[in-house]
Symmetry: C3
């Protein structure tokens, strides 16, 4: 993201226009979005919340990287708000024909697809698109390279708030491949804005990120140091291919022994600490399967919150559009 992308995200009245990154979100806006998302939560088995905030609008899901969960989450969020959702598997069509991303966007824009949900493996693509769309079009970042995954950051924040709304007294530990994690980045930005008590980033030495990207965070390479008395422990997905290249971690067993979140390692955290994971999980690698399925785990809650957060964001965008 370029320095002036803040202006890009908000219109002159301060309304959210594009969702590119949480970097410039303040506690007030984050709190309001979490409150709005809470209103979309219903009991398991009850019908999901619905309204007509996006009736008549079209949402385009443009996933230039494969994804089931985030795409499905945006799809359901859009449909439950009354939108038409167009799912484009961009790998298998336009790109085969060599069409540029911008031309795909211009085409959708001309079809009156007014909300573009974009996932891309390259840094800067959502902002690049946002700078080029027409005034009435909104771009939502659904996962951008290693740098940003704002709706994930929002759902993680909401999940932590449900555990303990007093962020100032919260110690949050994020464990794994921090260097390549857009999840860690967006969560950190959101937590910083909420004035989190302590943010600890734990990763193998080879995957330790540039500290300047995570101001205020404590960065350590020792799991025990990072987990001690934590309130929230978030395990990150590790790409299996990366494991073989880590010093002293020849395989997945060693990764699990050193950085896996397990019943054993959770003993260091607070007794009521929660366990999070953005999914999809590598059970037995970064997280112990029975822990993920047990009472400390809020992983399913994260998914539920994800739909609610996306409904909150989409609904805001819809209201902003209707007010134009």
């Amino acid at each position: 993201m370029e320095p002036d992308d803040t202006k890009l995200q908000f219109d002159d009245d301060g309304n959210l226009r594009h969702l590119l990154s949480l970097r410039d979100f303040d506690a007030t806006l984050l709190t309001r979005l979490m409150d709005e998302a809470e209103a979309y939560l219903t009991a398991p088995g009850a019908l999901p919340a619905r309204n007509h905030s996006l009736a008549g609008r079209t949402v385009g899901n443009l996933f230039f990287e494969p994804s089931t969960r985030t795409r499905a989450s945006f799809d359901l969020a859009g449909r439950r708000l009354g939108a038409d959702v167009l799912n484009l598997d961009v790998n298998t069509s336009s790109r085969k024909k060599g069409e540029s991303i911008l031309d795909t966007i211009y085409t959708l824009e001309a079809m009156q697809v007014d909300i573009m949900v974009v996932r891309d493996a390259s840094d800067g693509v959502p902002a690049y698109i946002a700078r080029h769309v027409k005034d009435h079009v909104s771009v939502l970042n659904a996962g951008e390279s290693d740098v940003s995954h704002p709706t994930q950051g929002l759902l993680d924040l909401l999940t932590m708030r449900q555990h303990n709304p007093d962020f100032g007294n919260l110690a949050v530990a994020i464990v794994g491949d921090i260097q390549h994690s857009r999840v860690a980045m967006s969560a950190s930005e959101a937590l910083r804005a909420m004035g989190v008590g302590e943010l600890r980033l734990i990763s193998p030495p080879a995957l330790i990120p540039d500290a300047s990207r995570f101001p205020g965070a404590v960065i350590v390479d020792n799991l025990a140091d990072g987990l001690r008395d934590a309130d929230v422990v978030m395990a990150l997905r590790i790409q299996r291919e990366r494991i073989g290249n880590l010093d002293g971690i020849p395989g997945i067993d060693e990764y699990f022994a050193n950085y896996g979140i397990s019943h054993e390692s959770m003993k260091l955290a607070k007794p009521d600490a929660i366990v999070m994971h953005p999914g999809p999980m590598n059970r037995g690698i970064e997280i112990e399967g029975t822990l993920a399925d047990g009472p400390r785990s809020v992983i399913a809650k994260q998914v539920t919150n994800g739909v609610a957060i996306r409904m909150a964001v989409l609904s805001r965008i819809g209201k902003m559009m209707s007010a134009q």
Copy 2:
């Protein structure tokens, strides 16, 4: 399916909760489902039947094997009942990332996808999922390895009833690769429950199934013996790769000559006997093309009945859910 899966399919009040197999369906339930499906049939060219039994519900189509027809059939059935239908092509997304089936299910469950339609190449997957989902979630088997395809069994039963409702006087011949056919299994279970007069299973010697899987059926390897005076003749799809390995059947011409359902071989059946096929057909291999397109064929009817049967099943599930 494990012995105790009967309990899994029905709740304490005897309502259908999951549809895993027809093994434990009795004539009363089968008849009711057929009656309910009949109510969804409209004249060709007329608008298809619609109602709001599933309004607000979300159906997830999880096809771990490729399929056009069954997926489309469930998709249309769900939408015509007012549901949101989420089509997940699981090969190209989650499984690429190594996510387990259960984690995919837990994710969808957390997104309030309350009805999971599952097709899988492995024996036991639908029941395995049904044992793990929350109380308010239903699992519908849309094709399971070689063992079960219950909505296919129901639509086949309905199609036969439309020809002649007196099952006790019906001779049904199923022809082809019985050993690997979930279609034959589910049809046999349904027919047995209805007290079918005679069920004959005809297949090349190498593809003859274990007789214990088809109690009451007559199993033969000679087409003429099986077809004589049959009321219903159902040809099964044969995988071309299997043909070369059959004794005395070096190629598709020999397969057609020995086991193909043709105008010629149908002379052995009753004059008004109907011809069925679950699709997709290999014309000229297991069935003669002009026979499939001719007046004895009820193959298109089977497809129409398929949507109606799926609407009947989905609608029942929806009512059970609303009553909870």
Copy 3:
């Protein structure tokens, strides 16, 4: 298309039943369709037009060739008219199982999919399907080999009319691989019916089409000759693989120099001439990127008109069906 396909397209009362080609459309019908499409245009940012012309109907999108834009355009057009739209990626399912096109069609027909939108790489497939479907089913050609792309022809015609409705005084230049272009064919048929002043087809010598396919058109191999004083300039997509085989055009730079539509080459056209392209574009090959994005370009308008034209066609088909 066979000679008697005209009868196929219209019913006994002259209503449009299938849309296979524009060859037999007269100025009256073309004008009405354009007028109906105009009624579906709304301001950018405003909600797209919607109605219930296809409520309860099911549209099947059968794309046997990959496509993003045309498929999305039909999908949105159908949904904005209230239809259920079933998107079938036929490459990855039925065809894997060796099912014939007709069996796929018969299956969809039996599921009460009453409007089939078909794209296929083979000449004659849409008409072949239209000859085999039941009386109440309509087939819309969404791109057929090198020979026909009627909704593209209609949207191109509408876009030209928006520039200047006086077709008799219009000089239209189409540039590129005319020989393999279904876009050029359908545009030519529509323009001829409207009594276009001049139609010029410009292509490299190796890609010059059989003149009998384009009666009344001026065919030239020199760009300057073709562009002089043109009112409308349409660049066609060129397949990169074709370029290397053209005499005197060893690469894309030479193609652009000789046949590219650029700010420079547009100086030959009328000062207010518009630039069109059916997409997806190869920027820098058949068209200069900044020209495509500049004020002379109506390329985005073409896309917008495409949805409107498809809504007009679908809505007509829906009315014809309801009247049956």
